[in-house]
């Protein structure tokens, strides 16, 4: 009981502090972005959210890999995992720290999209990851 009174009193004090602080200004979006800049937590736009919903339809069947003509990256650098990895490489935005694909490997022929039973817009994922990577880097 005593603890509750103390808590209420404590919060009441803060209410007054708030009124005074507000006279100096409101910590708003600018403060938020500055605070979280190093966390690589960039916002997602409405269109990007819509894209993510479609990407979520992937059932990991691998039919896209089978349709993809860009087989192996012979020089061994960042080998192209194949389109089947794309829906999963886009699951977590803060974890994009480097350009995920050697731009040579995906030719955007869209054979993967035609082969997908769940209509996942695979070629758009590469754009999305690249765009987010740029934003995260900034």
């Amino acid at each position: 009981m005593l603890k509750r009174i103390h808590a209420t009193f404590y919060l009441g004090t803060h209410l007054m502090i708030r009124f005074m602080k507000r006279l100096a200004g409101r910590p708003g979006k600018g403060a938020f972005l500055r605070a979280y800049a190093t966390e690589r937590l960039v916002p997602l736009t409405h269109e990007e959210k819509g894209l993510l919903e479609k990407i979520s339809r992937c059932i990991a069947c691998g039919l896209c890999d089978l349709a993809c003509p860009a087989t192996v990256n012979p020089d061994g650098t960042f080998p192209f995992f194949g389109p089947s990895a794309l829906p999963f490489l886009s699951r977590s935005v803060p974890d994009f720290t480097a350009a995920p694909f050697s731009p040579k490997t995906c030719g955007e022929c869209r054979e993967c999209e035609k082969a997908c039973p769940e209509e996942v817009p695979l070629t758009k994922i590469i754009e999305f990851i690249k765009r987010k990577f740029e934003e995260v880097r900034r």
């Binding site: 039919l63 089947s84 035609k114």
Partner: protein, 440 residues
């Protein structure tokens, strides 16, 4: 005027329908949408798995598909096999099915192995044994029932964990008491030179379509065979996407050994090879690419289909007779929220009861390996494979259905996926092509 049959779907049921409709003299159009379960299939063609088989059944006592068919018809009142066996166009169901399978195999130029009177015991990439009827060519030499006294070598590829050779060999050894036919089982790993460092089964298969990679693979496999001296070799199902026949026949010629692939799991190379042969066949018919989103109906007849192509453009396509072979959920046949068929909004049933959006009972069972209503729900049809409502009344006069859009069977548990697709597809193709296709 030849009847015009439009088939919605591009899997086994669709090809069975197309084959029979062409044979019956109809003009056939196939509307090819998204790939479904056929493209993901393992290479095995299931007609009827032995429902009485249990963990300890010796391999020689496993029932043939012919016998298992009778068992399924006896036990399951809503099974499409029962409907087929009672139809006067079918006659003896096993002969009907094996005849249709052979015709389809010829039309696809696909030399299948197996027969309806004998089970085919195929090796899976886990090391379990699957009971099936027919298999695609690359698995043909791998019927465990035909390996009396065989020395089997299971091959794994370094960095391809999806084919764990040691596990496969050890599981087979554990089960060896069920059949004394295999005299020796060994596991080996190979590391052919010209394959990519970070491996995915698909990348490996792609790479084995190149001549140099094939040569290197051939060399390494022959070397292993000379060390171990097996009579049969189980390979991971990644022996090239297009070159598999060439790779295996060359190995056979060089060594005299029986080489075969284990069955494929998604991403299944055997599945995609099958889908490619289906696609080649469909191009011989009139083929439209696109997804059918809805239909225009007038007075209990389907008048036109609305097709959406890759770019999102819609087209109205007039139709005469339609066969629906869109699959269950993988092909996008049934909408899971409302449990209704997507194109014509037909009701979906389980055990004779309509399901609807608020199913009365659970659609799944408590245990994973138990039967789930979700896997055996589907359209209810009259004896002529035409969808009906809950009172058995015909819904659309010029519509038939085939394959897993039909309810009453559980393809996975009963081991009858291809059998039902081929049987119902063939009958539907025939019925839809009849000159006066009017059934009450």
């Amino acid at each position: 005027m030849r009847p015009r049959v439009t088939i919605i779907g591009s899997g086994i049921a669709a090809v069975a329908t197309a084959c029979e409709a062409i044979r019956s003299g109809a003009e056939v159009t196939v509307i090819r949408g998204r790939p479904g379960s056929t493209a993901l299939s393992s290479g095995a063609w299931d007609i009827a798995g032995d429902p009485l088989r249990f963990a300890g059944t010796p391999w020689q006592e496993v029932r043939s598909p012919r016998e298992s068919l009778q068992e399924l018809i006896r036990r399951l009142p809503h099974h499409p096999y029962r409907l087929l066996s009672l139809h006067d166009q079918v006659g003896d169901l096993p002969s009907f099915l094996s005849g249709a399978v052979n015709r389809i195999a010829r039309a696809l130029d696909l030399p299948l192995h197996g027969e309806i009177g004998r089970p085919f015991l195929a090796l899976t990439p886990l090391g379990t044994v699957k009971v099936t009827a027919y298999t695609l060519p690359t698995h043909g030499a791998g019927n465990l029932l035909e390996m009396q006294g065989a020395r089997l070598m299971v091959v794994g590829i370094q960095g391809l964990p999806s084919h764990p050779a040691a596990l496969i060999a050890s599981l087979l050894k554990k089960n060896r008491h069920r059949s004394p036919s295999l005299s020796e089982i060994t596991a080996t790993q190979i590391a052919p030179e010209r394959i990519p460092k970070t491996l995915s089964p698909v990348q490996v298969a792609h790479s084995f379509d190149e001549d140099e990679a094939i040569d290197s693979l051939h060399k390494v496999l022959v070397q292993q065979a000379e060390k171990v001296r097996p009579t049969h070799v189980a390979l991971p199902p990644v022996m090239g996407i297009r070159q598999s026949a060439h790779i295996l026949s060359r190995l056979r010629e060089t060594t005299g050994i029986h080489w075969f692939e284990t069955l494929g799991l998604p991403p299944s190379i055997p599945g995609i090879r099958l889908q490619e042969s289906l696609d080649r066949y469909f191009r011989l018919t009139e083929l439209r690419e696109g997804t059918v989103t809805s239909a225009r109906m007038e007075r209990k007849r389907v008048v036109a289909l609305h097709i959406r192509d890759d770019e999102g453009r819609d087209e109205e396509f007039p139709v005469d007779r339609v066969v629906l072979a869109t699959g269950k959920f993988l092909g996008g046949g049934i909408a899971p929220g409302t449990f209704r068929e997507k194109i014509f909004n037909l009701p979906i049933f389980h055990n004779g009861n309509e399901i609807g959006a608020r199913p009365v009972g659970p659609v799944v069972s408590r245990h994973y390996l138990d039967p789930h209503p979700l896997q055996s729900m589907g359209l209810r049809v009259n004896p002529h494979l035409q969808p009906v409502d809950d009172r058995g009344h015909l819904l659309l006069e010029n519509l038939w259905a085939a394959g897993s859009i039909l309810g009453g069977y559980d393809a996975a548990r009963e081991g009858c996926g291809v059998g039902v697709a081929v049987g119902t597809g063939t009958l539907a193709g025939r019925l839809a092509s009849e000159r006066f296709a009017a059934h009450a």
